[in-house]
Symmetry: C2
Subunit: 451 residues, 2 copies
């Protein structure tokens, strides 16, 4: 690491810059990768202005800059393959402004979704995007995150209204605005959402809020076959049921969750459902969904109406990642993230299940199937690495053939750079033109997105 940079960082950030190997190791790792690719330093800024200072200092010595929220991204977005300075946003955790009448909020990038919702609890509003982990808003914007209730409330693409950005040159720009719509120039907000820190650093995020639903009801229902479960999802979407969450867990996933969470549902393909609305509208929705499930050989609905029962249910769902690890302790884990048009979902899931069974890997399937998005968690020993990688490649090829995407919500990071080219072909050259124009020295999160 550049000596002058090290000196300047110490001088300007004192105890808020850390060069210790343990802190650096921690910041170069994510839940899906045990091996760390550590930065050389971690800085904890308090303000957009301080982020500018860091960027300007790093630019002088052409040192890479890697943004860090809580480190819950899964594609090595936080790794520092070329070393450099990690910008940890955890102390930029202020809620800047809540506009209840306009249903929007502006927060610093390090605010987590749970702390935002805790803050909003008495306002009648909430922020629905829920990727499972208690991620920061900045991180969620960076990876274009979504999660269990995107089927109803959209993704970060549709919920981010405005951003404050520190450019690779250390300038502050504001993109978008608080009006509900605008046709004023290029949509820089949408460009930065999903750019994984490669075009600049997001320091503040303005997001849409939504009214807390008058009533919430959740249910679990099992099916004899995976096909029955998937068909139920497609039919309920076609009836335009405004369902808030619909998660599919296959029999392998249910086994893992039973072992891990002490929840007593059968080891069968299962849907976890949630309904939001007025009591009347929920009643209508439930009647329709129960009828559709029954036609597809669905079992009894297990209802969770009390908040604590719903929490238990969704915690079990969100713990799936850790539940799966405990299926084969010590194994590596590879999380896939394809998303296909809904009509192709049965084919994609069923072919994938058959493929996985034929190669003998333990591989639970869990999915935000209302969006056509599902995850396979491939568990594999070091000796099975090639088998697992090949299965992932076949899965992505299958999804692309069905007009889908290699990643619905996790991003490209370091793990899917080849797939980006398979998916977008020569459009990747246009993306690279933007990267080159904004960041000619390739200092912003280098080694991500592009080969």
């Amino acid at each position: 690491m550049d000596q002058e940079l090290q000196k300047q960082l110490k001088q300007q950030f004192a105890e808020r810059v850390n060069f210790s190997p343990s802190d650096c190791e921690h910041h170069g790792r994510d839940p899906a990768h045990d091996k760390s690719l550590p930065p050389d330093a971690v800085v904890y800024p308090l303000s957009t202005e301080e982020v500018c200072q860091i960027v300007k200092l790093c630019a002088k010595s052409k040192t890479p800059i890697i943004p860090y929220g809580v480190g819950s991204s899964l594609e090595r977005q936080v790794a520092a393959p070329q070393g450099g300075v990690c910008v940890d946003f955890s102390r930029m955790d202020s809620i800047v402004e809540i506009n209840t009448e306009d249903m929007d909020a502006t927060v610093q990038a390090g605010v987590t979704r749970e702390s935002l919702n805790h803050y909003l609890r008495d306002s009648g509003l909430f922020f629905p995007i829920d990727p499972g982990a208690n991620a920061t808003l900045g991180g969620m914007a960076s990876t274009r995150a979504s999660g269990t209730n995107a089927v109803r409330y959209g993704t970060m693409r549709t919920n981010v209204m405005a951003l404050t950005i520190v450019t690779p040159q250390g300038d502050i720009i504001k993109t978008g605005g608080r009006a509900k719509k605008s046709s004023a120039g290029y949509d820089l907000t949408a460009l930065y959402v999903g750019s994984e820190g490669t075009l600049g650093l997001i320091t503040e995020v303005t997001i849409k809020l939504h009214p807390q639903p008058e009533k919430i009801a959740a249910a679990v229902v099992s099916f004899p076959t995976l096909k029955n479960a998937v068909t139920t999802v497609i039919e309920l979407l076609q009836c335009a049921i405004p369902i808030a969450r619909v998660e599919l867990l296959d029999e392998v996933q249910m086994k893992a969750i039973r072992l891990h969470s002490n929840i007593d549902y059968p080891e069968l393909p299962t849907l976890f459902l949630e309904f939001h609305g007025s009591p009347l509208s929920i009643k209508e929705q439930i009647e329709t969904v129960e009828a559709i499930a029954a036609e597809n050989n669905g079992g009894e609905f297990n209802w969770a109406e009390r908040p604590e029962d719903r929490s238990k249910l969704w915690e079990a769902r969100h713990e799936a990642f850790y539940a799966n690890r405990s299926l084969q302790p010590g194994d590596n884990i590879l999380t896939t993230d394809v998303c296909v048009p809904i009509s192709s979902l049965p084919q994609c899931i069923l072919e994938t299940r058959a493929d996985l069974d034929s190669i003998g890997l333990v591989a639970p399937i869990i999915g935000h199937v209302g969006d056509g998005n599902f995850h396979v968690m491939l568990l594999y020993s070091d000796a099975q690495t090639d088998i697992a990688m090949a299965a992932h490649k076949r899965l992505v090829e299958r999804a692309l053939k069905l007009k889908g995407t290699c990643t619905g919500e996790h991003g490209i990071g370091m793990g899917k750079k080849e797939f980006l080219i398979s998916e977008h072909g020569n459009a990747v050259a246009q993306m690279k033109k933007i990267k080159q124009a904004f960041d000619p020295d390739n200092l912003m999160n280098p080694g991500k997105i592009f080969l």
Copy 2:
């Protein structure tokens, strides 16, 4: 115009290229501007490949290229201030693919929204975005259009899933895809939506479709004051009523419409409302809205339940532009397009009405107030030009101070280039970097968006 280009266009496009002054004049004009800034030639391609040919031919002689749908944009987006070749998409009017199960459609850029909806009439689906004019999907994507029912169904920003683009170098790229969500690389789709032809030519558009509502009901209700009408809108939005359209017409606008359309509503501030949903949900919505209106001194609701009555009502609304012209025949017209956060709408509209009244211009106000977006149509004689321009400038300053935008849905074009800078400051430099990286010779719709 370059002789060699002229020769090549004739050779390759025969009767599908036109150099006649009348055709060129026609293509350089829009409904808000009588004076044409004509291109030197108009070409009518049939396919994306033909668009590539045109772009490559023009690039050789560095000739500007201007895309044209039906010419209904309002900010001179179709003008050719430096001459050049207009690419008229009217013959690229094929519907490429409808996926009813996935509720999406892919169409050539020249398909109009009415012809798409006509094609969809028996499918149970429709495309809701309705800017009033029977615009093409390519044009609507280019200006990030929206219109009367964006409050319920979103804008082109949220409804375009994928694009086929011919780049300034004449390459074909595909952006986005048919999956409901993706985190694969930069969001080029969102970048091209709203880029007004300055980054390349949109040749195909993939859009979301929506289920045709089970039932539709429309109503008209008048209020003694503008403030009563605006407050009603805010309160109904805060109750999370999923209203499909809510249009505000002030007393001047109602006068113009009465004169023009032979519709018999009082000359008072008025809301035009439309409700979509199940009979049960519509009943719920209507009860709530009637109660809110009554609390704000609203009059009787005039209901239009039959399709022909609804059509009459919305035609009267869509004819507002022409109705206003007939208020002061021979006058110039300047259409404004600010959009502000909902909570600031009363202040913005009331201050604007007072301002306009004080300067003595005839200026009806009409708005998609559910989005915070409203249009003032300033009618002015040549002698009043400075007064009208100054009033527009004050209106934009007022909107920006209230955290709004200078354009909710019309785009920047040639008319709002200064306002783009007032609104986005140094972020405009980032936009220009993209323009420069994609189109270094500035051939794609030059003279638009950027000063």
